[in-house]
Amino acid sequence: MRLQKCWFCSSNIYPGHGICFVRNDSTEFRFCRSKCHKAFKKKRNPRKTRWTKAYRMARNKDLSQDLSLTFEARRSTLPKYNREALTQTVEAMRKIVQVRQKRQASHILKRLAKGTEMRRLADVRSVEQELHLVQAPHATRKIYDPDTKRLVAGADAAAAAAKQQRLDKRATAKAAAEARAKRAKLRAKANAALTLDAEAMETEDA
């Protein structure tokens, strides 16, 4: 019994299954089922079709380049029956399958670990680069508190800033009032002089 591999998905083709297309240059294309045959006719590329073995191997999603995968072979001559060799082979097959499963599992774990590490690094990067979205840069600035005569940060700084703002406002208002009073004084003085002048003119006329 000869098992063929599907041209598209690389699965085994057992006798009586699948279909074979022979191109006019006598190249054979064997397919395990109509799904693969249709994909071939639609000119899908097995390397780019996610569910094929060729895709998974090309992207290193499955274990490759491993000694436990090299036991399958196509032989052109039948080995002669030998009871001892047969029992040994059957025993070896069991062991090889175990080893292969173990290695495939560790391959997957290794890939997953890499993903975890990459996500961790991405998080670190995001904290370094995007902290300003969470905490405003001004929030950490230190401000002079006139009462305690110290530089303060955080909530104290906010309070100090508000206090300073109030003081500034008061000072501004005071300065404005003083300026107003000064202007009124000057105006009164000028008015007084004007009245004096008028009185003097009246007396001269008289």
Partner: protein, 153 residues
């Protein structure tokens, strides 16, 4: 996705990508395809052949126009990859040693050969083109590097 009629076996293209890759890899085959005896059954008497698309064009203008088109460029790009074959399917399925095909930047860049007299600017549309390869011309074609970065080959 190709049209439904194109999926029929009788409407398959003259050559699949792996066959074209084999044509391009063999200088003698390339020369034979480009410089063939005039054949009145072929479009343009078989003198205006696009190696990459395995198609005969009617004249020089049509060939140059075709080479500017998207289907041709897409096929050229696909040719940069190693052609997929049963051996790769076998190896991926555990039969034989699998070697990962080059992808992305490692992909080869193919520049398809063109008859030198076709790439020259047109002296006149009725300018005769020599049908068969002279030995000098054939030698020149073989000497040309087929996989270089030179666009204006």
């Amino acid at each position: 996705m190709p049209r439904k009629s194109q999926l029929k076996t009788k409407n398959r293209p003259a050559a699949d990508l792996d066959q074209v890759a084999a044509d391009l890899a063999s200088p003698t085959r390339t020369r034979d395809l480009l410089y063939r005896q005039p054949d009145e059954d072929l479009p343009g008497a078989g003198q205006y052949y696009c190696l990459v698309c395995a198609r005969h064009m009617t004249d020089r203008q049509a060939l140059l126009e075709h080479r500017r088109g998207k289907p041709h460029k897409r096929r050229l790009k696909e040719l940069g990859d190693k052609p997929y074959a049963q051996a790769e399917a076998d190896a991926a399925g555990g039969l034989g040693v699998y070697s990962r095909p080059a992808v992305g930047d490692k992909r080869r860049r193919i520049v398809e050969p063109l008859k030198p007299e076709l790439s020259l600017p047109a002296a006149g549309s009725s300018a005769p083109i020599e049908p068969a390869a002279t030995p000098a011309k054939a030698a020149r074609l073989v000497e040309q590097p087929m996989r270089t970065g030179n666009k204006d080959l």
